[in-house]
């Protein structure tokens, strides 16, 4: 099987060039080859949302994305959503509202919520619930997560 050349794309605003076989999954590439372990592997099958990244700005499941198909595109992981110092408004709201417990699902929620608030500055409770309906949390019971996102939206993004 011919080995494809290096894969080039924008990762968190920086160009990267990395070897990637055809069968390499974006989640594995990001975690294992690029050592950005903020993006979590939960189910690995599309059901939990822990692996969410932004692909050209749109929340996307990295566990169901072939790495080669992001060639020339822009990928933002939880590391790229967080400011260099401190926390983003959404992250701070999660802390303030106790919206994170074990924390495993949190990067996925933060990425999804950040995209939601970018597109809808003041979503309703229903819009928030719908937007996060592909992210699973086994700890918090969601109430505090919805409250955190509501509060971040009130502060404006």
């Amino acid at each position: 099987m011919p080995s494809p050349g290096p894969l080039r794309f924008q990762l968190n605003g920086h160009p990267v060039e990395v070897p990637a076989e055809s069968a390499r999954i974006l989640l594995d590439l990001v975690r294992e080859d690029l050592h950005l372990t903020g993006t979590k592997r939960g189910c690995d099958l599309g059901t939990c949302g822990c692996c969410t990244v932004l692909l050209d700005g749109r929340p996307t499941l990295s566990c169901l994305t072939l790495a080669r198909l992001v060639e020339g595109r822009s990928v933002t992981t939880i590391e790229g959503v967080s400011p260099r110092q401190g926390l983003s408004r959404v992250q701070q709201a999660f802390v303030d509202h106790g919206a994170t417990q074990c924390g495993f699902c949190t990067p996925g929620f933060i990425v999804t919520a950040t995209a939601l608030l970018r597109d809808h500055a003041h979503p309703s409770k229903e819009e928030i619930e719908r937007a996060i309906s592909g992210n699973l949390c086994r700890c918090t019971g969601y109430t505090k997560i919805v409250e955190a996102i509501q509060s971040a939206s009130r502060e404006g993004v």
């Binding site: 099987m1 949302g49 309906s133 592909g134």
Partner: protein, 327 residues
Amino acid sequence: MHLDPFELHRPASVDDVVRLSRDLAGGFDYLAGGTDLLPNYKMHLNLKPHLVALEDVAELQGHTLARLGAMARLADLETDGALTAAYPSLGEAVREVATPLVRASGTVGGNLLVETRCFFFNQSYFWRASLGFCLKADGDRCHVVPQKEKCYATFSGDLAPALMVVDAEVEVAGPDGRRRMPLHELYDLGGDGIRRTHLAPGELVVAVHLPEASRGRPGTYLKLRVRPSYDFPELGVAASGVFEGRRVRSLRLAVGGADPYPRRFDALTDSLVDTELTDERLQEFSARVERAVRPVHNTFLLPDYRRRMVSVYVRRALTRLRESAAS
């Protein structure tokens, strides 16, 4: 879970896709959004040595009120208010597919050709090896209906019934050129459940065409599932039609999530046209639809419950259409 190696192809036109499909002679799968194929590949279900990604084929992208490209993303249909208002059954179905994260990648073509589901099939290689493989992957017998000829895995796509009731047509391309057929004729109702469509080897779906005559016609899609946020349908009932008061002027009904294929019930619905749909007739009609579907025990909910829910959902769907005419 890492994927076994395969070669990835990225053709840029439908002609190139067709040429590749001829060269690879069946040893490949098409890859659209990958939200169905890649989980199956991770579970080692029917792996092929080549994947042909449709992502770069411009002709397959995007949608209008008259045409859904095969690669149109479900998330983009869902947020197009003009489209979902023009075809209410489609509007209601598309927002019920999986989760917003899956819909961001999932496509129209992939949804129409989504792999059928069964709890003896959608399992890891280890799980399946322990029990003994089945007809649909690696084995020679069915664990649900014990015999060796036919697979009864359930068709679990939401869009097909919703599009059938608006008389959608599907355009396909292959080594013998292009053709168009009514969407409900895409599925092979007499097949063995493994080969499930009338697509010739190598044929791909190019687009779905939506007739102007159906635009704005009242319609609905009702989905039975366990967790409303993302489960596959255990039953999906789509209806579209025009009522004058209780009088049926036109009516289409399609059911998915119950049999190995989605299907319309034209003989039954035609018998209602130009009649008054009273509550008694509706009761009788829904019982006839119920008798025509045969769910088997291969999904989460018990088949007897799913079957009985057919008449409940048919009644709800038609009552909704009748009431929208009255208001």
